[in-house]
């Protein structure tokens, strides 16, 4: 055999080997997840580098319920679900400090988070904070776990488990925590009628009589903004209100508007959990509003300087309407429950 023939054979072998398909052990295997919500809900903006997938949502769900997230950190033994209960619309029924915590519901449409808006951005940004600063996740534990490496591979095509990917999975799960099937939604869709009491309460809610709609408008029942609703008249610098974040004196005594979706299940109410019942909340607006520099003008507008001045029946109707905002499917949906 001549030298040139050998050369050709070697060349052929190299070419043949280069034709072998390289197997990527870290290839993703995802299926798109379609989040369903009524057409009157705001358009859902999802970052292009973290689309909703079945695998991503399920991974986020597992992480949400897994205390491994906190192992070795300052919140050892706890997961998100240790405090946020599905039966309470993923809010926290009571805290050690007596304060209240905003529920994990429909946060996909929010760009600021916590009562004073300390966290801003999209869910991926917030979850990065939760992963690195709140739980101080030990990623080695996730890497050494029997299940997680495979779940991350499937969801993100990565053999690595990073803070960014944990945050992305949790962000997908938080987008999945969508509540849009209350009795009020059925009414809006023409599928169910409200009682006379609920209808009267709705009229109070959506007119100047109650003026609830300015901050709690449809469909999210929150404007995701910050307001002083007259809970206190004196600014307490130890209370971390919106001004604690913005530095503006015009933001004193202001807190984020909570969603009223599932409000029946999210007691205690207000940033400091001072009210336990919806009746107490309504009475605040009715007769207990305290004036201060930054109070929202809606709270003291002409004719309402001393509160809403509703009758007992009107107050009961308002509470009846608030209870139509409860999405029982959401709080009983087993696909939102713990996977463990």
């Amino acid at each position: 055999m001549t030298r040139s023939v050998w050369f050709l054979l070697v060349l052929l072998a190299i070419s043949a080997s280069s034709c072998k398909e390289e197997v990527d052990e870290c290839e993703a295997n995802t299926h798109p997840y379609q989040l369903q919500f009524p057409d009157y809900f705001p358009i859902l903006e999802v970052p292009s580098d973290n689309p909703l997938t079945e695998e991503g949502v399920q991974l986020g769900r597992r992480l949400y319920y897994d205390p491994l997230l906190s192992t070795g950190g300052p919140r050892e033994g706890r997961s998100c679900s240790s405090c946020h209960f599905q039966s309470n619309s993923f809010s926290v029924p009571s805290t050690a400090s007596g304060s209240s915590v905003l529920p994990h519901v429909n946060l996909a449409w929010s760009r600021n988070f916590l009562w004073n808006g300390k966290l801003e951005g999209i869910l991926e940004d917030v979850m990065l904070f939760e992963v690195n600063d709140f739980f101080e996740v030990d990623f080695n534990l996730l890497k050494e776990d029997a299940v997680y490496p495979e779940l991350f591979r499937k969801a993100f095509g990565s053999c690595e488990i990073t803070d960014e990917l944990v945050a992305k999975a949790l962000a997908q799960w938080f987008r999945r925590l969508k509540s849009s099937n209350s009795k009020f939604d059925s009414y809006l869709k023409g599928e169910e009628q409200l009682t006379d009491s609920e209808l009267n309460g709705m009229t109070t809610f959506f007119t100047e009589k109650g003026d609830c709609f300015h901050c709690h408008g449809i469909p999210l029942m929150t404007n995701n903004e910050f307001h002083n609703i007259g809970l206190d008249s004196i600014y307490d610098p130890t209370v971390k209100d919106r001004s604690y974040i913005s530095g503006s004196p015009y933001d004193r005594l202001k807190f984020k508007t909570p969603t009223l979706r599932n409000v029946e299940l999210t007691s205690p109410y207000m940033h400091d959990g001072r009210f336990v019942t919806l009746e107490e909340v309504v009475e605040h607006y009715n007769s207990q509003v305290k004036r201060s520099m930054t109070i929202d003008p809606i709270m003291t507008k002409p004719g309402k300087e001393y509160g809403l001045q509703l009758t007992e029946e009107e107050k009961q109707n308002l509470v009846a309407f608030l209870k139509t905002l409860t999405d029982w499917e959401f709080v009983n949906d087993t696909s939102l429950s713990s996977p463990f």
């Binding site: 358009i43 015009y250 507008k301």
Partner: protein, 237 residues
């Protein structure tokens, strides 16, 4: 036969000319609102301005809709460039982008402050977070707020808030700016918005008398009547 050919050619020519006219409406125009208070640049969140009633005030929120942009030629013919309603948030520095505008010389710019009745129905505008934040409840007539103008003022009793909200079809304001201007391809335009004019000329709004307008139709109509004087044309390409 010759006559017929002439007529056909004339018809063809007319069709071609008309199609050229349509093509002329395909250029982008960006419109930048320039906010000021009697010439002073707008600085949000600080009580440094004074309105015609003498109320020292701040601007903390200004959200509104402009719609139905029209361009008036020297021969008084009007070209509607864009019938859409555009949401604008002063804090975010929203810039309008009109995709179809005529190129040429004009003597007047017209638009509506608010949303035309045909579009002022809840769910008609895209369900963006911005639009859903402007919804006007069905129980009060439906549609959307045309404007939310809010802030604080030094009242007789100290610092107080004000909320000038305008909505309802009756409050749709016609704005016309009779300043000649030219528009070229992919141009830009700056329109001045003097916020003090919201509260004066012809109707003076005194925050000490009332710091709130929503649902108070006479007050909303007075604000709406003031709007026409609030806008000026500052800069064209």
């Amino acid at each position: 036969m010759r006559k017929l050919a002439f007529v056909l050619l004339l018809a063809l020519n007319t069709v071609l000319l008309n199609s050229c006219k349509e093509e002329a409406l395909t250029y982008n125009l960006t419109i930048t609102p320039h906010y000021h208070v009697d010439g002073d640049e707008l600085m949000l969140d600080t009580i440094i301005y004074q309105n015609a009633a003498g109320n020292p005030y701040s601007v903390n929120k200004l959200r509104y809709y402009l719609s139905n942009f029209r361009f008036v030629k020297a021969d008084n013919s009007v070209v509607t460039a864009d019938g859409d309603a555009h949401f604008i948030d002063a804090r975010e520095g929203t810039i309008l982008n009109l995709p179809k505008v005529p190129v040429g010389s004009f003597k007047e710019l017209r638009f509506n402050f608010g949303i035309p009745q045909s579009q002022n129905v809840y769910g008609n505008l895209p369900n963006t977070s911005y639009n859903t934040g402007m919804v006007w409840p069905e129980q009060m007539g439906g549609g959307y707020h045309f404007m939310k103008f809010e802030g604080y003022f030094n009242s007789n009793q100290g610092v107080n808030g004000y909320a000038i909200h305008v909505g309802n079809n009756e409050c749709l304001a016609d704005v016309s700016i009779s300043t000649p201007f030219d528009i070229s391809e992919d141009g830009s335009m700056t329109i001045g918005f003097n916020l003090n004019e919201i509260m004066t000329g012809p109707n003076t709004f005194d925050m000490d008398s009332s710091n709130y307008t929503m649902g108070i139709m006479p007050a909303m109509l007075e604000i709406s009547a003031n709007i026409n004087n609030a806008f000026t044309l500052e800069q064209t390409p």
